[in-house]
């Protein structure tokens, strides 16, 4: 097999796997949102026999009981704020630990790394009690700020910063740049791709977080989407049509944002010269 055909072959395989495994379930879900409940429960073919927008009407038509757009807005605000805060504090910390010669650094970094292994659920009760003392419960702060203490971003960026040639920074330092401006002008432009990746991972993590908003938020109008959508699922049965319609409406904006972001990452990579 020559180089070209191998490339083509693996590309076809990737597309095949992609469509079968990833796209079809999503497609089923999208189409099912347009089915009446009886058709969802009893699978009668991939396409709806009887197209209906009743599910969407019910989900959107009652903003007092189902403030879907409000939940969407809350989710967007919380996820973007979380990702921004995490990116800011983690990148500064990761850089100082990767580059600056600090007393006691290995110990601190070791402790930070070790906490990667702590399951988040077990911190729930202590964090709840702390947030209660701070008076942050039932506010977006309860979800945004604790997330920035996580070790993942520091670990990821630390690994990356270690790979950046030191001479670039030293040159900037010789030019009389302060540490902060070295960071902003040299490091940040070079690290756009991993930073964008971290931003997306944090954004999605926050977007999908269920336990946090569930426990830390009280008011219906402050809910995020995952907690809001869960209201269509009772302990005994699920309102399939409503759940599917609501979740479709909510995935759409992230999907579009993600498609746009994709280009950014690719161009970021190209611009940073990482491809040599």
């Amino acid at each position: 097999m020559n180089k070209k055909s191998l490339r083509l072959f693996s590309a076809e395989v990737a597309k095949g796997v992609g469509s079968l495994f990833f796209v079809i379930p999503c497609l089923l879900r999208v189409l099912a949102a347009f089915k009446p409940d009886s058709e969802i429960v009893k699978f009668q073919g991939i396409l709806p026999k009887q197209w209906t927008i009743a599910n969407f009407q019910e989900v959107l038509g009652n903003p007092e009981e189902i403030p879907l757009l409000r939940w969407l807005l809350n989710s967007v605000i919380i996820s973007i704020s979380t990702a921004t805060l995490v990116l800011t504090v983690s990148s500064l910390a990761a850089w100082s630990m990767a580059r600056l010669r600090l007393p006691g650094k290995p110990v601190v970094y070791g402790v930070v790394l070790a906490t990667l292994m702590v399951p988040g659920q077990i911190l729930l009760v202590p964090i709840y009690l702390l947030l209660n003392t701070l008076g942050w419960l039932d506010t977006p702060l309860a979800l945004i700020v604790p997330a920035a203490g996580g070790a993942f971003g520091v670990f990821m960026l630390h690994q990356f910063f270690l790979g950046i040639p030191k001479d670039l920074e030293e040159a900037a330092a010789l030019d009389g740049c302060s540490r902060l401006s070295t960071f902003m002008n040299v490091i940040v432009p070079l690290s756009r791709a991993p930073m964008a990746t971290l931003f997306i991972f944090t954004f999605v993590g926050s977007w999908n977080d269920f336990l946090g908003p569930l426990v830390f938020l009280d008011s219906l109008e402050r809910y995020t989407l995952p907690v809001g959508i869960a209201l269509f699922q009772t302990s005994y049965f699920t309102e399939y049509g409503l759940t599917l319609a609501a979740s479709l409406l909510c995935t759409l904006p992230t999907f579009i944002a993600f498609m746009i972001f994709q280009r950014q990452i690719i161009s970021g990579m190209a611009a940073s010269g990482m491809k040599e």
Partner: protein, 430 residues
């Protein structure tokens, strides 16, 4: 160097402070009078929650000095959240507890006894409550909740399928012989693309509990100090369940969603709680009916639980009075609640002509005198895990009834022993 961080925090602050965006309602002033806010939490998601929201809105309109804010989430997470909130001293003023969960919250000091409110001038007529349901809310002779409903298990029937096998859908099976007859008839129907059954096990815990109680079994000794799960009665009840599967009349139980089979019209009978009615009401193409669960053993019994309105411990007098007014309102209006798929607990409402018109509810309500609650034990969750595990093993044929029940019994007795050592008192017999 603080600039980027400060910029972010300022931006965040701006977002949070954006007017109206995230503002909450704590206590507003209306017409010069202070409005009391009551937080009301429950597990009424789905259609139930929307019915309850309607009642809350009605109350808020009739009582301008009180503002009830309702929060709902599914029961599993509701209990966890209520518990965490209780720990943080932020439990809501009013919340709903199942009868079986009430003891835990009473023992943990989250719920307050309600007897003084019931007996007060603006109280509730104790005699109007269905006695079995009302007694189930007591612990050490104090009442910790006002039962809003009783959600008994009943038999849902697919009337069309019954007709197809020449069984009169207006007289569904009432005993073992008739029940097995229907199961056999359905199995003899010509094959379709997928199987059809006379009956499926949907919820193993509630189906299993009904079976053991119908065969005169029980879980604990009368003094609640010993688990007696491995009794011959319990073995017989669950072996009867397994025999239906051995005879190929009933499929081996799924963990989840066997109920979907009923909704698809491929199952003639299913034993489920009255709360599933709301699910069927959305289903336009299914001709369903309700009936009491047939009697299989020598005893009349059927699983049930109740939703109870409870009040947080330690409220100041005015807030407690306002909360009580809300609880009383809901109890007096529980007929509206029943419409969505519940059985009311007030005798006056059960006997009302409006309730008689609710077909399925009225059928299920015929069993109200024979309902059996799970025993009131503080370790209810651990007990239910063991019980359900045993039922699951037996019905699936993975273990013989005596083996599975013995394991569960030993484990539960170990839990009792552990609790005793740690100073937790026993429970109350249901």
């Amino acid at each position: 160097m603080m600039t980027p961080r400060r910029a972010v925090l300022t931006a965040l602050g701006g977002l949070i402070a954006a007017p109206g965006l995230l503002s909450g309602c704590s206590s507003n002033v209306i017409g010069g009078r202070k409005q009391t806010t009551i937080r009301f939490w429950n597990g009424f998601t789905g259609p139930d929650g929307r019915t309850m929201l309607g009642l809350v809105r009605k109350f808020n309109e009739e009582n301008p000095d009180v503002h009830v804010v309702m929060q709902r989430m599914d029961w599993g997470t509701f209990y966890n959240k209520l518990f965490v909130a209780g720990l943080g001293g932020r439990a809501p003023e009013c919340f709903v507890l199942h009868t079986r969960a009430m003891l835990r919250f009473a023992l943990a000091g989250f719920a307050t006894p309600l007897d003084t409110f019931v007996a007060s001038e603006n109280g509730l007529p104790e005699a109007d409550f269905e006695p079995g349901v009302w007694d189930a809310t007591t612990y050490k002779s104090e009442h910790f909740g006002i039962p809003l409903d009783v959600h008994a298990m009943g038999m849902y029937t697919n009337r069309a399928l019954l007709k197809e096998v020449d069984w009169n859908p207006d007289t569904p099976p009432v005993n073992t012989a008739e029940f097995i007859d229907v199961c056999k008839r359905v199995r003899k129907l010509p094959k379709q693309e997928s199987e059809r059954y006379g009956f499926v096990f949907t919820n193993l815990e509630t189906n299993g509990y009904t079976l053991i109680r119908q065969f005169a079994g029980n879980v604990f000794s009368p003094d609640m100090q010993t688990c007696i799960l491995n009794s011959p009665e319990n073995q017989n009840g669950l072996m009867f369940g397994r025999s239906l599967i051995d005879d190929a009349l009933v499929p081996s139980p799924e963990n989840f969603d066997a109920w979907i089979g009923f909704r698809q019209g491929r199952v003639a009978m299913a034993f489920e709680g009255i709360y599933m009615l709301a699910d069927l009401q959305r289903q336009k193409d299914l001709d369903y009916g309700g009936a009491p669960v047939p009697q299989f053993g020598n005893t009349k019994a059927v699983w049930a639980d109740s939703h109870n309105l409870c009040m947080r411990r330690g409220l100041d007098a005015p807030t407690a009075a306002a909360t009580w007014r809300f609880m009383r309102f809901l109890s007096n209006n529980s007929l509206d609640w029943a419409l969505g798929g519940q059985i009311p607990t007030r005798v006056s409402q059960l006997e009302s002509p409006e309730f008689a018109k609710m077909e399925v509810q009225a059928q299920f309500a015929k069993q109200v005198k024979i309902v059996k609650y799970h025993p009131k034990v503080p370790f209810i969750f651990e007990y239910l895990t063991e019980f359900t595990l045993a039922v699951e093993k037996i019905l699936r044929g993975r273990e013989k009834a005596p083996t599975a029940l013995k394991t569960a019994e030993d484990n539960i007795n170990r839990i009792i022993e552990r609790q005793r050592k740690q100073g937790v008192s026993g429970g109350d017999q249901a």
